[in-house]
């Protein structure tokens, strides 16, 4: 909407990024929030330290100065309070976007998220819609101390009624967040912390025009929620990843190419809704798949994806679908996290195990799979 560019801005308040050129993931999120707030006066942003400080990661930088303390404000330190208040505000016509300061600090709000935000529409037979976004800086790889690096997507993805989004690129950070704010359902928006400072050259004005068009035409879900993207095309095997793992998968695919193997990388973008169609199409073409995620693998989103692919693409598969995930341990201390995180080498090893020797794949593959199962745990 034109409001973004025409609205008067108080002196000293930085304009949101508008020109092309390198943009950080954090700035893209910031621009998305500013643009949604400009487009719709019902959008309000709140949480801990999101006001004058602009959030500990500065994602809400400048929003209070530009939109005032009614639109972007600090709350008392109480996650359940933040979440529960957001439910009530959404009931009464606003579109709250709340920030949970770090993944593991969202757990006090868990009850409000899963029992109330997720269910309100269902329990009222659709009478009450809850358009709200729960932004969570999430996952590891930044050397954080405990409780600052959890991958909590499986808890949310397991809860019907929640849309769960995890962008992996700067462009998607912008587009998916704007789409999330416009969605008439509660969205858990997972922001991979290690990507906050990643820079890409993106055509923000073009993205902004597309998002503004979606605002004007009322297309709430424009921007890619529910559709996976092919982050890199390939022919030999499919790597399925989302959020922080997409860049690792891309690095693995680049390394594999040097070894003469062509890997396709699928970036899910949203975990719920999950895009079976895109994943299936890729796996049916390549015949092999590895799922990559940072979270502990047991009973995880990665497990779900592996099971689905196995069920749906069985006859196209040349090998079992493998998972490369975090170990089933609490998120480790910074000096150990690189052992925990699924890295390029672990991904390539898994790819190597996808029964490439067509001649005797059957038997050897079976033995190998068993050995891995005996060894126990995720890869």
């Amino acid at each position: 909407m034109a409001a973004t560019s025409t609205q008067a801005r108080p002196a000293g308040v930085p304009a949101p990024e508008t020109d092309g050129g390198p943009l950080t993931f954090a700035k893209a999120l910031n621009a998305a929030l500013a643009d949604e707030m400009a487009a719709d006066p019902a959008v309000v942003v709140f949480g801990e330290d999101v006001g004058p400080l602009g959030g500990v990661f500065r994602i809400t930088d400048g929003l209070t100065a530009r939109f005032g303390t009614d639109r972007c404000f600090d709350t008392p330190l109480a996650e359940s309070g933040i979440m529960g208040m957001a439910v009530g505000m959404a009931m009464n016509g606003l579109r709250p976007v709340v920030e949970m300061q770090f993944d593991a600090f969202a757990y006090p709000a868990f009850e409000q998220v899963v029992s109330h935000a997720a269910k309100m529409s269902n329990r009222t037979r659709g009478k009450v819609k809850l358009p709200l976004v729960i932004r969570i800086p999430y996952a590891g790889g930044i050397g954080g101390v405990e409780h600052h690096c959890d991958s909590s997507e499986s808890y949310y993805a397991h809860t019907p009624g929640l849309t769960v989004v995890a962008p992996a690129t700067v462009a998607d950070a912008y587009s998916l967040l704007r789409a999330a704010v416009r969605l008439n359902d509660p969205v858990v928006f997972l922001e991979p912390k290690k990507l906050y400072w990643a820079k890409e050259t993106v055509d923000l004005p073009a993205l902004r025009r597309a998002a503004d068009d979606a605002v004007r035409t009322g297309t709430e879900a424009a921007g890619g929620i529910g559709t996976a993207a092919v982050a890199r095309s390939g022919t030999d095997a499919t790597l399925i990843a989302y959020g922080p793992s997409v860049s690792t998968a891309l690095a693995a695919a680049a390394a594999a190419e040097a070894e003469g193997r062509s890997l396709e990388v699928i970036d899910l973008r949203s975990i719920v809704p999950y895009d079976d169609a895109s994943v299936d199409a890729s796996v049916r073409r390549t015949g092999r798949a590895v799922v990559i995620a940072e979270a502990p693998g047991f009973a995880s989103v990665a497990s779900e994806i592996a099971a689905r692919v196995q069920e749906r693409c069985f006859h196209s598969l040349a090998a079992p679908v493998l998972r490369v995930t975090g170990f089933d341990v609490p998120y480790p201390a910074p000096k150990l996290e690189h052992w925990f995180l699924p890295g390029v080498d672990r991904i390539l090893e898994a790819v190597d195990e996808l029964q490439w020797d067509e001649g005797d794949a059957g038997d050897e593959g079976a033995v190998e799979t068993e050995t891995r199962a005996e060894a126990g745990g995720p890869r």
């Binding site: 309000v44 359940s80 009222t124």
Partner: protein, 382 residues
């Protein structure tokens, strides 16, 4: 402290909207009165209170009619559980004065946030009893449109709805709406974190919310003394910088006066308040509960003479506003409500299984569409 009508906000809000309540006098102003406010005693005798006016006879007669209906609804619902028409019913028998007053003090534009025990309050606000009881008969979690009468769905998890009430009030304030929110909870719920977060948020953001605790002395089997050792639950308010008041929860006149004052104070920009009603749950927690395991018959009997209906009746008869003929009429009206409830509940409702997949997301995910097809084919096979 008193939440009397016309009392100005306790202090000018500071720049962030938070009243400055640091002085000793300000603290005194937040404290509840020494004994629960009572305007009509158990004998039906009215007394003059220094801070609260006795409601007019007409208003009390209206309230009495609601009390009679409320009692009849509780009895009918218990009977329907015994007949297997509802899975369970948390009765508010003995607490009807709280239920009736909670609805009566609100205007159309206000919101009520009830719990599972507050069915009578929801019905008093105008929601069709049948729609209220879908929660308990098992065909849908909330059978009414919350926007129609501005009544939130009845909350089952304790204290969570208090935060939703705060959110509705906060949105109303930002949108410039003239809306007060009345949020109900029990004594046990005051121990939950969400209770404290809700009070604090409402106070910090200076919101028009009245928190109303029905202290019926037990949380299932746990007595108040195991729940809290605060001087009273109303005293908790002072810690958040809002006034607290306690009131005889079996005296509908006192409830109308105290809750009415708190609601009007909130409407005038005075901010949130906490009201604790002292009452008693005369029946078990639900039909599944065995109350003899944790309380004596004598204790229950002690509360019988304090019944909210009896004292209102005596008072109104004394005034000449109520006689045998009017009582017969009121009983007949209540009977009609009960009969409609009974007939509605006796009609078998078969929910459409396909509704399982409705209202989970605004747009069905491909996975849900697939599961809906699966169920459809199961149904088609018969």
């Amino acid at each position: 402290m008193t939440i009397s009508p016309g009392r100005p906000p306790q202090a000018a809000p500071s720049s962030n909207g938070v009243p400055d309540a640091a002085s000793g006098a300000a603290v005194q102003n937040l404290l509840p009165s020494d004994t629960p406010v009572q305007l009509i005693d158990a004998n039906g005798t009215a007394s003059v209170h220094p801070s609260y006016l006795l409601p007019a006879g007409d208003a009390l007669l209206d309230a009495y009619a609601q009390l009679v209906t409320g009692r009849r609804i509780n009895d009918q619902a218990n009977a329907l559980v015994r007949q297997g028409r509802m899975a369970v019913y948390p009765s508010s028998h003995g607490q009807e004065a709280c239920q009736v007053a909670a609805a009566a003090v609100l205007r159309d534009q206000d919101w009520l946030f009830p719990t599972y025990r507050d069915s009578v309050a929801v019905m008093s606000r105008g929601v069709d009893p049948l729609q209220v009881l879908t929660l308990l008969r098992g065909d849908w979690h909330s059978g009414y449109d919350p926007y129609e009468h501005r009544v939130a769905p009845q909350a089952t998890p304790l204290a969570t709805q208090l935060l939703h009430a705060v959110g509705v009030a906060h949105a109303a304030k930002l949108k410039g709406e003239d809306t007060v929110v009345l949020a109900l909870c029990g004594d046990g719920a005051t121990s939950e974190g969400d209770f404290h977060e809700a009070l604090n948020f409402a106070a910090v953001f200076h919101l028009p919310v009245v928190f109303f605790i029905q202290n019926n002395q037990y949380a299932i089997s746990v007595p108040l003394r195991n729940q809290s050792v605060a001087p009273s639950l109303a005293h908790k308010a002072v810690g958040y910088g809002m006034p607290g008041e306690r009131v005889d929860g079996n005296d509908v006149a006192a409830l109308l006066a105290v809750l009415g004052a708190a609601v009007e104070r909130a409407r005038e920009g005075g901010g949130p308040a906490l009201v604790e009603a002292h009452t008693y749950r005369m029946q078990p927690h639900t039909n599944a509960d065995d109350a003899t395991r944790y309380r004596t018959a004598e204790e229950v009997q002690d509360w019988v003479p304090r019944d909210p209906l009896a004292r209102t009746r005596t008072y109104l008869r004394g005034l000449g506003l109520l006689d045998d003929a009017r009582e017969t009429e009121l009983a007949a009206d209540a009977e009609a409500v009960a009969a409609a409830m009974r007939d509605g509940l006796n009609a078998d409702v078969v929910p459409d299984p396909q509704e399982l997949f409705e209202h989970v997301y605004t747009r069905r995910t491909p996975q849900l569409a697939e599961q809906a097809r699966l169920l459809r084919s199961e149904l088609d096979r018969g």
